[in-house]
Amino acid sequence: MTPGPARFLVLVAAIPAAIVVVGGLGFTVAQSLGLLPLVGPARLSVDAYTGVASELPSSIAVSVGIAVASTTLAVLVGGTAAVLIVAGGRLARVLIGLGAATVTVPHLIGAAAIGLLLADSGLLARTFQVPPTDWPSLVGGPWWVAVILEYAWKEAAFVALVVAGTLTTRVARFDETAAVLGANRATRLRLVLLPLAAPSVILTGAITFIYTLGSYEVAWLLGRTYPEPLSVMAVRLYGEVSLTTRPEAAAVAVVIVTLSTLVAAAAFTLLRRSAVWR
């Protein structure tokens, strides 16, 4: 294909994406700064930010906490599964099947299933015949266990499939090379497999973190009502009867975008430092 038509096709895809991202982000920032009021005159102010300032620290803490815990679990479980998939054999086929089945389940359905499984009157409590009063507060409890597990379960499958896909295309020959150079399985894992997997692990980890930070359904369904994660707070404020809270919802959304941007920047910094990326 000549450069002209190729550029045109790229533009066809890029222009709508740019309009949505830049336009949507600009609209949100403008609304959070009082420049696009639903009623009354436009006036530059940080009132929306000061309006949610008292709740922001606890919301940021719980959102980041959930994202860190979920991402850590997802990367550990998904990364291990990826290594097992690359090793091949029957277990690899089972893991690929499980991963493929898991990523197709919507988070909302997953959250409902986790709730039915982990609640004090859920399947596990009934199976083990534990009275609700003795069952730990996994759903709606102080440690957001059900929320973290739901995200970790779903995102571990995503991490496993992406990392395994990256590794299988390039690692097999390097693994053979390391073996004939005298490296045993553990050494190959430490000196070859993990360093080569690092870029895809960093990328999938960053995607998982940003997704977890920005999505609200799971925390809304399985979490407690206070402190609210940022995403839940933003949706609640946006949907309130009083239209004057919309700038505050936009302000919370801007905070989420800022945190996500920081994480993305950190991920790309790590990637640039990784030898494989260079």
Binding site: A179, V180, L181, N184, T187, L191, V192
Partner: protein, 359 residues
């Protein structure tokens, strides 16, 4: 220390491939030899190498290294080094760290491994590239580093799987020179896979010709060229002449005439094979001077290949191809006198299906 490799009735079948890759191969690679496994693509030569290295398990048979059965032994425990067609340098490691890899795998600290790796980098004449990223090296430099890395593992056997086939001719010649220079540093037993007979002759002292999962002949380079065991070997080694005839009393008779062949040639129908380099075009007076040792033929075709020319000579149903020396004038339709270099002709059995173009 020299190391022998023995393959006993080794076979290999891949799943979902109806045709076996190897069919009961027996091969004795003598200690201290440099053996080239030569054959066309898909002949099974790389599979043999991978089975020796332990990267593939044979479907049947045994692999012995120095008399020890290593069938089923993990690659890292065989003491075998291997250089692949692609250099496969680890992209996350510098040049020096790549060479130091086998030493680190053996348990050395990073500092000690790096210090021990430096001499190997010197061996391949890349001492100034230690800190370079491997992606910044040329193809030839990458293969040099791959060789240094393999040598650093101190293998008892070195396996080379078409290591220079991706390089241009000049670089390939450089690498052959490097192997010759490293002769004292290389492990004494080397097995190299190639489909290039010139490379096989340049690097190896013995050649095993492989086709369709079978070793057709394993012998010295000289004998593989001069005494092929069958038409397939002669063809794979670049032989262009095959003349059907009958052997009686160490003489092959055909439309070409009576040609002296080795005493060992079996009586009865057989194919005379003689390399085109061993056919000498003679002056017009030669027939009278050497009756019985010279032959006449009509020039059927003159072919130019760069600066060289070859000529196809026909006589009856027989045809012989010969190189034309510089300065000799030949033209199509003319009659020329030729002879064979002493001892060059030999006889091989008739193939069940003679290849097209062979008389």
């Amino acid at each position: 220390m020299t190391t022998a490799i023995t393959l006993q009735a080794v076979s290999k079948e891949f799943k979902r491939h109806p045709v076996p890759a190897l069919r009961g191969i027996d091969l004795d690679i003598l200690p201290g030899t440099r053996t080239a496994l030569l054959g066309p693509s898909g002949s099974g030569k790389s599979t043999i190498l991978r089975i020796i290295a332990g990267l593939e398990d044979p479907s049947g048979g045994q692999v012995l290294i120095d008399g020890r059965d290593v069938t089923g032994v993990l690659p890292e425990r065989r003491g075998v080094g291997m250089v692949f067609q692609r250099s496969l340098l680890f992209p996350h490691l510098s040049v020096l760290d790549n060479v130091a890899f086998p030493l680190r795998a053996a348990g050395a600290s990073r500092r000690a491994a790096r210090a021990a790796a430096v001499p190997y980098l010197d061996l391949v004449q890349l001492p100034d590239y230690a800190d370079r990223n491997v992606a910044s090296l040329s193809g030839g430099q990458q293969q040099r580093v791959a060789i240094a890395r393999t040598l650093a593992a101190r293998p008892t056997v070195l396996l080379l799987d078409e290591p220079f086939s991706a390089l241009d001719p000049d670089l390939r010649a450089d690498m052959h020179g490097l192997l010759a220079e490293l002769r004292t540093e290389l492990p004494p037993t080397i097995v190299m896979v190639t489909h290039d007979r010139d490379e096989a002759a340049a690097v190896a002292d013995r050649i095993a010709v492989v086709e369709s999962g079978v070793v057709l002949q394993h012998d010295t380079v000289e004998r593989i060229y001069s005494r092929p065991s069958c038409q397939a070997v002669a063809r794979l080694m670049g032989g262009r002449n095959a003349v059907l005839g009958v052997v009686s009393g160490a003489v092959h008779s055909s439309d070409l005439g009576q040609v002296a062949v080795p005493e060992s040639a079996p009586e009865g129908p057989g194919v005379l094979v003689v390399r085109h380099e061993s056919v000498q075009l003679l002056g017009r007076g030669a027939a009278a001077a050497h009756p019985g040792e010279v032959y006449t033929g009509t020039v059927a075709q003159v072919t130019r290949n760069g600066a060289r020319r070859s000529v196809t000579l026909s006589r009856g149903n027989a045809a012989i191809e010969a190189d034309v020396p510089p300065g000799v004038d030949v033209s199509e339709g003319s009659t020329v006198v030729f002879s064979f270099v002493d001892g060059a002709p030999s006889v091989v059995p008739i193939e069940a299906h003679a290849a097209p173009g062979q008389s």
